[in-house]
């Protein structure tokens, strides 16, 4: 087997190659989390924890961890430049803005009784 040449190294160092072991570990974690997701769905946490939105919160939390693993390791963001990391983060930030203000509208509609008539479900 040829060893890496100087010029090969130049090319390789300009982009990262992640060891296979890392990929395997991340994959293992992802599959475990998938099983956890399914198992968690078989249990009604909103009753257990006396908190209405418990189920969705737990499901989303697990999904966020899975997504983070894929982004950081499979998509190499953990090893990328600050700029790439910034690009990756900015989408979720603006998504947050969209959710925040839209839900702000819906959730505050029945704070004023007259306006709640405009709410489709009256919620």
């Amino acid at each position: 087997m040829q060893t890496a040449h100087e010029s090969d190294l130049e090319v390789i160092e300009s982009h990262h190659i992640i060891p296979v072991g890392v990929y395997m570990k991340v994959f293992g974690a992802l599959m475990v989390l998938l099983v956890v997701t399914v198992l968690a769905a078989m249990e009604d946490f909103s009753v257990r924890l006396h908190w209405g939105p418990a189920n969705i919160v737990i499901a989303m939390a697990i999904a966020i961890v899975k997504a983070a693993l894929v982004i950081l390791f499979f998509m190499h963001v953990r090893y990328s430049s600050r700029l790439t990391q910034f690009f990756a983060a900015i989408a979720f930030l603006f998504l947050g803005v969209m959710f925040f203000f839209t839900f702000g509208d819906y959730m505050s509609r029945n704070w004023i009784p007259q306006v709640s008539a405009f709410n489709i479900t009256g919620r």
Binding site: F101, T102, G104, D105
Partner: protein, 610 residues
């Protein structure tokens, strides 16, 4: 670039090729690098793509203007005598769709941005030339599809495609129009992506972020908005299309849908979109105001960051289009407050441009006239925007002509003025020719006068209560409507005139040379028109932008005077030598001792004068 190359550049080659070394009329440039339709339609050169865009945008502008003509002619009488009300509805829809999606959004970014940005950055091209070309093709295909729907079938929903009208009660051509707009949106996204990557990664050596011209900052901010906002338009239009095609009632109240949800998704893009339309205008103005006041921009960092601030805050204010829609009053409060906030960075820019003018050495060339027009019109448009941000006022004037006047002051008064100003400013660079200055000044003034006559009465009309999108209106509004239409004819003249003299200049204009305006900026450090790969020598930047200096201008004026005088002297000597020497051995340039003494004397004389 590796250090050795940079050192070679710095030590052996002038920092930037001095003007004297650039060809006045370059023999090989991007326009004559290949002829024939294939060399244009399959080009990867950002400058050619910019020209392609410029031509197509002009076509769409005149189509949208035609629709506007229909509108204004119809509004001459209150009873919709000119066209049927149904046709009127289709006309204002066509006007809106064409002008917003196919003219204003691409105009400055895709023409001036495409042409000038790589030059300003000292790059050989944009980062992704093929995507650039793809973006133009998507634009054209989207435009054709949309025009087909607008003219053949007729869409009457308004450019905002409000639900449930657009899916429940309008005709099926809405879906075709949506496909066209969808493609144009993609085109816009690709342009934005290209600009962002190019600005980050392809700046010339030494060109740090804070040495960039403000044009680049504002274009960058525009691109950020394009990338973050346009996809949401895509999804909201897709939802409308699905609803129309499958009749599934996503926004239909009868089926439990909420029309206001459509408005949230639509305006999430469409409000930042208006900043896509105005930020590039601001970009151009920053360049024009500095060049024609011969001063660096006042408060560079404030102006630069204000562009970014506008881009960010613009995403937080979309609900001000929905104050009367039925959204929550608390949401309205939030959006109102944030809408006041979004005016602040724009105001900072206006203050700084004004401060740049102060004590500047102002030259009232045509681009400067457009700039001054911009400043006044943007001020009015922006302030009336603040009035509209106030819920108490908005409740009364929403959906009236007040709103129409407000946004036309910004989109036409500001953006189009800036677009034309930029076209005039960079015309010599793009074509190598100068246009007729007198005609240009007249056109600029016609535009300003015509524009105000057209749209100022509309503020009054709106305040008095005339609703928008109505073919039939109350008779008491007729006088102002007639005035508005009269103004529109003058405005139309102001648009037509440049079309003629700019085209005329292509054949008969004076050659411009690399830097006819004596502007700073890397785009002026190459020939006019530039070579295909922009720079024969890669520029290395050591100083900030806008290094204008009136003293240097005076020196330059004197130098030109001297050169002209010397040239005249040389010509005279040639003539005299030619007349004296009957053998035809005229020495031409007079290198004899006597001639040297004479030119030395002239040189000394001029030196004393300095």
């Amino acid at each position: 670039m590796n250090t050795a190359a940079i050192e070679a550049e710095v030590n052996h080659v002038p920092q930037t090729a001095s003007i004297g070394e650039l060809e006045f009329e370059p023999r090989n440039h991007y326009l004559n690098n290949g002829y024939g339709w294939k060399s244009w339609l399959f080009t990867l050169d950002h400058k050619r793509i910019a020209i392609l865009y410029m031509v197509s945008i002009t076509v769409f502008f005149f189509l949208g203007g035609l629709a506007a003509l229909m509108i204004r002619l119809n509004l001459l009488t209150p009873y919709s005598h000119f066209i049927k009300p149904e046709t009127y509805n289709r006309m204002f829809t066509m006007h809106g769709v064409v002008m917003v999606f196919f003219f204003l959004v691409p105009a400055i970014p895709a023409t001036l941005g495409n042409f000038v940005l790589p030059l300003m950055l000292g790059a050989k091209d944009l980062a992704f030339p093929r995507l650039n070309l793809l973006s133009w093709y998507l634009y054209i295909i989207g435009g054709i599809i949309c025009l087909y729907a607008l003219t053949m079938g007729g869409v009457d929903t308004g450019w905002t495609f409000y639900e449930p009208y657009s899916s429940m009660f309008s005709n099926g051509y809405v879906v075709i129009a949506i496909v066209g707009v969808f493609l144009a949106g993609f085109s816009s996204i690709l342009t934005g992506l290209n600009f962002i990557i190019t600005t980050h990664k392809m700046r010339a050596p030494g060109l740090t972020w804070f040495r960039l011209p403000i044009f680049v900052w504002s274009m960058y901010a525009t691109s950020v908005i394009q990338v973050l906002g346009t996809p949401v338009l895509a999804i909201s239009l897709l939802l409308v299309a699905i609803e129309t095609l499958l009749k599934v009632g996503i926004f239909d109240p009868k089926m439990g849908g909420d029309p206001i949800l459509f408005q949230h998704l639509f305006w999430f893009y469409s409000h930042p979109a208006v900043y896509i339309m105005v930020l590039p205008g601001m970009a151009v103005i920053s360049e024009l105001v500095t060049c024609f006041a011969r001063k660096p921009i006042f408060g560079y960092r404030f102006v630069a960051f204000s562009s970014i601030a506008i881009a960010v805050i613009s995403f937080l204010v979309w609900g001000h289009h929905m104050f009367t829609s039925g959204q929550s009053a608390y949401a309205g409060l939030m959006f109102s407050f944030l809408s006041f906030a979004v005016g602040i960075p724009s105001a900072i820019k206006v203050f700084n441009w004004t401060a740049t003018l102060y004590k500047g050495s102002i030259r009232l060339d045509a681009p400067m006239l457009y700039t001054l027009g911009f400043l006044g019109l943007f001020l009015v448009g922006g302030l009336t925007g603040i009035y509209l941000a106030c819920i108490a006022v908005d409740v009364h004037v929403t959906d009236t002509y007040f709103v129409i006047a407000h946004f036309h002051y910004i989109m036409v008064g500001a953006s189009v003025s800036a677009f034309l100003g930029g076209i005039h400013f960079w015309w010599p660079k793009m074509t190598g020719k100068m246009y007729n200055e007198g005609a240009a000044r007249i056109a600029a003034m016609l535009l300003f006068i015509g524009f105000n006559l057209t749209f100022f009465p509309q503020f009054i009309l709106g305040y008095q209560g005339m609703p928008r999108r109505y073919a039939i209106y109350a008779p008491e509004f007729q006088t102002l409507n007639i005035l508005s239409t009269a103004g529109a004819t003058i405005l139309a003249l102001g648009y037509l005139l440049p079309f003629f003299y700019l085209l005329w200049s292509l054949k008969h204009g004076k050659s411009a040379g690399p830097n006819p305006w004596r502007a700073t900026g890397l785009e002026w450090q190459t020939t006019s028109p530039p070579p295909t790969f922009n720079f024969d020598v890669v520029p290395v930047v050591r100083i900030g932008p806008y290094a204008y200096n009136p003293a240097a201008d005076e020196l330059e004026d004197k130098r030109i005077e001297f050169e002209e005088a010397r040239q005249k002297y040389e010509d005279n000597r040639e003539q005299m030598n030619g007349a004296k020497d009957h053998n035809g051995n005229g020495n031409g340039n007079g290198h004899g001792a006597a001639d040297r003494q004479d030119s030395q004397a002239l040189h000394e004389e001029t030196e004393r004068d300095r």
